[in-house]
């Protein structure tokens, strides 16, 4: 193995069902239901998935949902904005914890 991540592995995702097929079946059924059109369109769900993929920093998910977004009719402007949403929440999550830092520091300080 030259690298931990191999793009060809993405197409083999279903092999995770070996040795535990029932759990995999339940997961993949759920997964398909989640991404089917509902109150949100498939295109909107793919954009959310793309943003989350960048938050969890999963190369497989970024590959899969970049393609999915394009194939659902999104363009690079929309996809880049979705990544900024993920970035804003990640950055915001760090920054808002600064309030804890400030509260603790204030309690400890003269």
């Amino acid at each position: 193995m030259e690298t931990y991540y191999d793009p060809a592995d993405l197409a083999k995702f279903a092999e995770i069902g070996k040795d535990a097929p029932e759990l995999a079946g339940k997961f993949f059924d759920y997964y398909a239901a989640v991404f089917a059109e509902g109150e949100l369109t498939e295109r909107e769900k793919a954009l959310i998935a793309l943003a989350v993929a960048h938050t969890v920093q999963c190369p497989y998910c970024i590959d899969a949902y970049t393609r999915a977004c394009l194939e659902k009719g999104s363009h690079l402007g929309e996809m880049t904005e979705a990544v900024h949403v993920a970035t804003a929440i990640r950055g915001g999550a760090s920054l808002v914890h600064g309030l804890q830092m400030r509260k603790i520091a204030e309690k400890l300080s003269l």
Partner: protein, 320 residues
């Protein structure tokens, strides 16, 4: 069944895939004539399977146009579909479409939009209106960056300008009878968005941001021929794209494929089963046949020549 192409890159050939599904691709009643009036175009789109452009001078001459008109008179097609290149750049196109409009209940003209802004474009737009031709216009996306990535710099604004002018002529208006449909091909080595969803987004974006209306949107996969194939090779996407097309084969599409009910004639008057076989150099019936020598329309059951590019028409919802 005739076959060109033998399943590249270890991918099952299209013929083998049909056999595995116990399908035959044969002609049905021929109800449509597609007329490719030549390769001359004012754009050099990256997805073009015919490699059209300003540098091409292949256009239909007057004698071939007369042969097309004579054929339309003899066989009375339900629809006649004029395509290119850019039909607007072909000398004598006015005579051809005026004559054809009188010989079919549905005359379709395919336009790249940009050609409607230049030269005789404005006059031709009015002629299309007077003939009540259905216009099918290419627009890959509702944003300038993707549109221009596929079709060239400056195309976005000129496309919007042409669509506004067509709306002004009465084309594409809600409830109107002058039909304006759009065609969106993906801007790269990926499959098209589902038609219904894409149409909804196009309708909303074009109306909201640009005040433009249209009737229907067609989304079609790019065919791995011509300039698009060169892009796939250059970018290292060829194998992945061919695998994707083959993996997405939908047997339900075969029954409704356009090649079953359409004859395609090129600017030289040569016959093909479709515009993609034309691009691949595959003649109707396997041998060069001329429209002017066509005594009868193809018998239902006549095999359609196939190649691996046919996968582009059978992926997902298909190309009908």
């Amino acid at each position: 069944m005739m076959e060109i192409g033998q399943g590249e890159f270890g991918i099952e050939s299209f013929r083998e895939t049909l056999q595995r599904h116990e399908l035959r691709l044969c002609r049905d009643r021929t109800s449509a004539l597609q007329v490719n009036v030549g390769l001359k175009c004012d754009l050099t789109c990256g997805h073009c399977h015919l490699e059209c452009g300003p540098h091409r001078d292949e256009t239909m001459d007057g004698a071939t146009m007369e042969a097309v008109i004579d054929c339309a008179r003899r066989f009375r097609f339900d629809s006649i579909d004029v395509t290119g290149g850019a039909p607007e750049l072909v000398p004598g196109i006015e005579r051809l479409i005026t004559a054809l409009a009188a010989l079919t209940p549905r005359l379709i003209v395919r336009s790249n939009l940009v050609a409607l802004n230049e030269g005789r474009g404005a006059e031709l737009s009015e002629l299309y209106r007077d003939l009540k031709a259905v216009l099918v216009a290419s627009l890959p996306a509702t944003n300038s960056s993707q549109t221009e990535a596929q079709r060239g710099a400056g195309v976005w604004e000129r496309s919007m300008q042409a669509l506004r002018r067509l709306n002004g002529l009465g084309y594409g208006l809600p409830g109107g009878t002058l039909q304006l449909d759009l065609v969106s091909n993906p801007v790269g080595a990926f499959l098209p968005a589902p038609q219904r969803q894409a149409e909804k987004k196009f309708r909303s974006d074009l109306q909201r941001k640009h005040g433009i209306t249209f009737h229907g949107l067609y989304t079609f996969a790019n065919v791995p021929l011509g300039r698009f194939r060169s892009f796939l090779e250059r970018s290292g996407n060829l194998q992945g794209y061919l695998e994707k097309l083959a993996a997405g084969f939908n047997p339900c599409t075969v029954q409704g494929l356009m090649c079953r009910s359409q004859l395609s004639v090129d600017w030289r008057g040569r016959l093909h089963d479709c515009d993609f076989n034309l691009a691949a150099g595959i003649a109707y019936g396997g041998e060069a046949a001329l429209l002017s020598e066509l005594a009868e329309l193809p018998e239902p059951g006549t095999p359609v020549a196939v190649g691996d590019h046919c996968y582009a028409c059978t992926v997902g919802s298909g190309f009908t």
